[in-house]
């Protein structure tokens, strides 16, 4: 099977090249047979990449250590789950995995559009095949072939780093890849539109749904990554402004900008060059993200070892795409420009523009902070490092402005807002903002950043709450419905808008949680069995933590596990008994020092986070020496962290609502033909 997989990868090379050539030729010459061949080529590449991936999987499952990749990331004792997911455990396999997912989305795209958007599909197929071809070429020729064999067969493999043996870590790359690769589709449509000149209103609809879907995947992927870091890295942190983290944020920011500014193009026909550029840039940034991770050019806990060959290849690819995009846009500039202008500073258009500026500014700061060390070294020869202090300093103000805009945007009127409009709609929210701010101040919560953030959160929530309330009430009155029903119909009638509001609420929750970090508690104790320590939460209550003792189990659990030393800590909150918490050290066969598993107790208000930092006497503890039970315990209290994950869920819900398809246009058109009712125009316009 593995050899078949390798063979399949080689066949995919000419197929992708053929598909790319025929896609573009077919589009140019308007020959449907060439186009059909190119589209079939996409299905073929997907099939071949499936075979290749199955081949790698079979190598893992069969413990075929003659393959370098399998030997490096697996061993005989590895749990089945991690053998199956070994495909994306390392650089080479994850490249194949990227190509596989890209091929999947490409096939979905081609299938979905077999009867529609036919003017675009030749070039779309060509572009998709081109990107696929790039990845296949890299796999085969850049010394990152997962099928590379050693000159001998090792008896056993090296095994998987224990830190990667974790559910979240396994899910994290796939969800991110789903996000990254799916941005290739709208990119393909954008290029196709530039090539065939169809830059009109249809392009908006096409692109928007795909970008929203990709955005959903990417958002979920990023949040999963944060959750993994929080649980597994054992520091209680969830974001480190690590270059690879930053790189995943960049396309997210530009895609968010697009989702807003596209509404201006839709209603006023403006910003077409801008929106087109955003789509192209987003795709480029996804390639940049994978480039950064793989080239190891920038120091990162994530990065693979420095591989210059790959770095140059990716740089060349990105450069070519960038140049091509610029040429295409310049070529179509006449068709893209519009006569409309923004009428007033105080208008929703203006707010959206401002939102875009802030998002791009944020992205630019992140980008610059990430590559600055590289540039500085290249220019001055000196090595410098730019860390979290930089990102926080620059991004916090921008982030707060964005949050405020999330409240201002929904309410300020299109075209021009009058003073009356502003007074009417902002007086309550601003009062709430001031009230909340003052209340916080007087109740002792005076950390400036947190205070401002929470006040603005209240501001945005008030606005969105009022929007929902007014809309529901209006509808209930008109239709004579109950409020619950009215609410559901209200949302269903304009899914994009209300889905968007739900996403804004989700962002409020996330900002709310971020601000809680201002009140983090961090204390360290040395404890012997029976010792009790007290830690006070910023909310006023006190935890009494009793170290009950150490339990050591040998060789149980995961097959790669040597031993586990489990520290039990019983918890009392203001005297009331709470569930027992355990934090442990685990020693794996493949590790040198033990790994830490933390204990987290999440409530709405805060997370209680316990870390078994160190065993006084590891040897003694494992040998059940009664005198070797001392530990170092680190206790963290993290206010509101749970709201990040809950916000992530809300974000997914809101996006689903916005994406939910409305009336099928065809059915509508057919009905409209049979009975010239005016209703379909309404229903159809609800998209």
């Amino acid at each position: 099977m593995t050899i078949l997989g390798e063979f399949a990868l080689w066949i995919a090379l000419p197929v992708a090249a053929w598909g790319m050539a025929l896609g573009f030729m077919g589009g140019r010459t308007q020959r449907g047979d060439l186009v059909l061949s190119a589209e079939r080529g996409i299905y073929a590449v997907f099939f071949l990449l499936i075979l290749a991936s199955l081949g790698v999987g079979a190598a893992f499952l069969g413990d075929k250590f003659e393959y370098w990749y399998v030997a490096s990331y697996s061993n005989r004792e590895l749990e089945l789950f991690y053998k199956i997911t070994g495909l994306w455990a390392g650089q080479r396999g994850s490249l194949l995995f990227w190509a596989l997912i890209l091929a999947f989305f490409s096939s979905v795209c081609v299938f979905q559009n077999r009867d529609k958007n036919r003017e675009f599909m030749p070039y779309v197929a060509g572009v998709l095949q081109g990107v696929l071809l790039f990845f296949i070429v890299v796999l085969l020729f850049a010394e990152v072939n997962p099928f590379e064999r050693l000159a001998f067969t090792p008896v056993n493999g090296q095994g998987l780093n224990p830190q990667l043996q974790n559910y979240w870590m396994t899910i994290h790359p796939p969800t991110l890849y789903l996000g990254f690769t799916s941005f290739t589709i709208p990119f393909a449509f954008a290029v196709a539109a530039l090539l065939n000149g169809r830059l009109d209103a249809r392009w908006i609809q096409l692109t928007r749904r795909w970008i929203l879907t990709s955005w959903l995947f990417l958002s979920v992927g990023i949040i999963f990554g944060m959750r993994w870091a929080y649980e597994e890295l054992g520091w209680g942190g969830y974001w480190f402004w690590d270059p690879v983290e930053n790189a995943s944020l960049l396309p997210w920011l530009t895609a968010t900008a697009f989702l807003h500014s596209i509404q201006i193009q839709e209603s006023r026909g403006m910003l077409r060059v801008w929106n087109m550029s955003l789509v192209l840039m987003t795709f480029l940034l996804t390639i940049f993200a994978t480039f950064l991770t793989r080239s190891g050019l920038i120091e990162s806990v994530h990065s693979f070892a420095q591989e210059l060959k790959i770095a140059y290849i990716f740089l060349g690819f990105m450069g070519t795409i960038l140049a091509g995009c610029i040429v295409l846009i310049l070529y179509r500039l006449p068709k893209l420009q519009s006569e409309n202008r923004i009428e007033s500073f105080l208008s929703r258009e203006s707010a959206f523009l401002f939102n875009n500026l802030m998002l791009l500014g944020f992205a630019f700061a992140v980008f610059w902070g990430t590559i600055f060390p590289l540039v500085a070294e290249w220019v001055t020869g000196e090595k410098i490092s730019v860390g979290p202090p930089f990102f926080e300093k620059v991004n916090f103000p921008i982030g707060l402005v964005l949050l405020a805009l999330a409240g201002i945007g929904p309410v300020i009127a299109w075209r021009r807002a009058t003073k009356r409009n502003l007074r009417k709609n902002f007086i309550i929210p601003i009062s709430v903002l001031l009230a909340v701010g003052t209340t916080l101040w007087f109740s002792g919560a005076r950390h400036p950043l947190a205070l401002v953030t929470w006040s603005i959160c209240a501001f945005v929530l008030t606005i969105i709450g009022i929007e929902f309330w007014k809309g529901t009430r209006a509808r209930a009155r008109i239709e004579g419905e109950g409020y619950a029903l009215a609410f559901m119909h209200l949302v269903a009638r304009n899914r994009r808008r209300w889905g968007g509001y739900i996403v804004h609420v989700a962002m409020v929750m996330i900002y709310f949680a971020f601000a809680g970090a201002a009140y983090n508690v961090d204390e360290r104790f040395h404890m012997l069995p029976g010792d009790v320590v007290e830690v006070t939460s910023p909310f006023g209550h006190t935890y009494s933590l009793t170290y009950e003792g150490l339990t050591v189990s040998l060789g149980k659990g995961d097959r790669n596990l040597l031993w586990q030393a489990i520290a039990a800590v019983s918890v009392q909150q203001n005297g009331k008994q709470k569930p027992l918490m355990t934090t442990e050290k685990r020693m794996y066969v493949t590790g040198d020092l033990p790994m830490t598993e933390v204990a987290i107790r999440s409530t709405i208000r805060e997370d209680l986070y316990l870390i078994l930092s160190a065993l006084d006497d590891m040897e003694g503890a494992v040998n059940a020496d009664a005198n070797a039970q001392g530990i170092d315990l680190q206790v963290l209290i993290k206010p509101f962290v749970g709201w990040i994950w809950f916000g992530g869920l809300m974000l997914a819900i809101g996006t689903f609502v916005a994406l939910w398809p409305s009336v099928d246009r065809r059915r509508v058109a057919l009905e409209a033909r049979s009975d010239a009712a005016a209703e379909p125009a309404m229903a159809g316009a609800a998209d």
Binding site: P154, G157, Q163, S344, F364, K383, S385, V394, P397, I611
Partner: protein, 140 residues
């Protein structure tokens, strides 16, 4: 058009503010990223270098790690990756990261004290698995 002019001004204004933020952000928060060799050279050349925060990357010397009992204090020696004769001692007053091993590559941020001991405030260890093992390693 007047409106357009005002918009351009606004746009440029925002861009200027962001640029300013980034500029001061970098200059105020950046730290030199040195090798032990460079660090020692700077310390010798400039006595006030003890005040400056720096980032150093090197490798922990096998067998140099010690834990001071009863205190949250770890000590170890770090050597230059290229010139292994250049070393300096490090004091670390926090929990050890899980990936800390006997010969791990570390990136430390902190200050070189007047006594020649480096007080580290942050420590990053290279994530072991990402190292692509050579075939020789596998043969072992």
């Amino acid at each position: 058009m007047n409106k357009n002019g005002r918009f351009m001004v606004g746009l440029v204004g925002v861009a200027a503010v962001v640029t300013y933020l980034i500029w001061t952000g970098v200059s105020q928060t950046m730290v030199y990223y040195l090798t032990p060799v460079e660090l020692m050279a700077r310390v010798e050349a400039d006595p006030t270098f003890h005040e400056v925060g720096v980032k150093v990357s090197g490798q922990v010397i096998k067998g140099s790690y010690a834990r001071v009992q009863g205190e949250l204090l770890h000590t170890f020696l770090v050597m230059d990756l290229v010139d292994e004769s250049v070393t300096f001692p490090v004091e670390w007053r926090d929990a050890l990261p899980d990936t800390f091993t006997d010969e791990v590559e570390v990136v430390l941020e902190g200050r070189m004290g007047a006594d020649g001991v480096f007080e580290a405030t942050t420590m990053l260890t290279k994530c072991g698995s990402r190292y692509e093992a050579s075939p020789e390693d596998l043969a072992g």
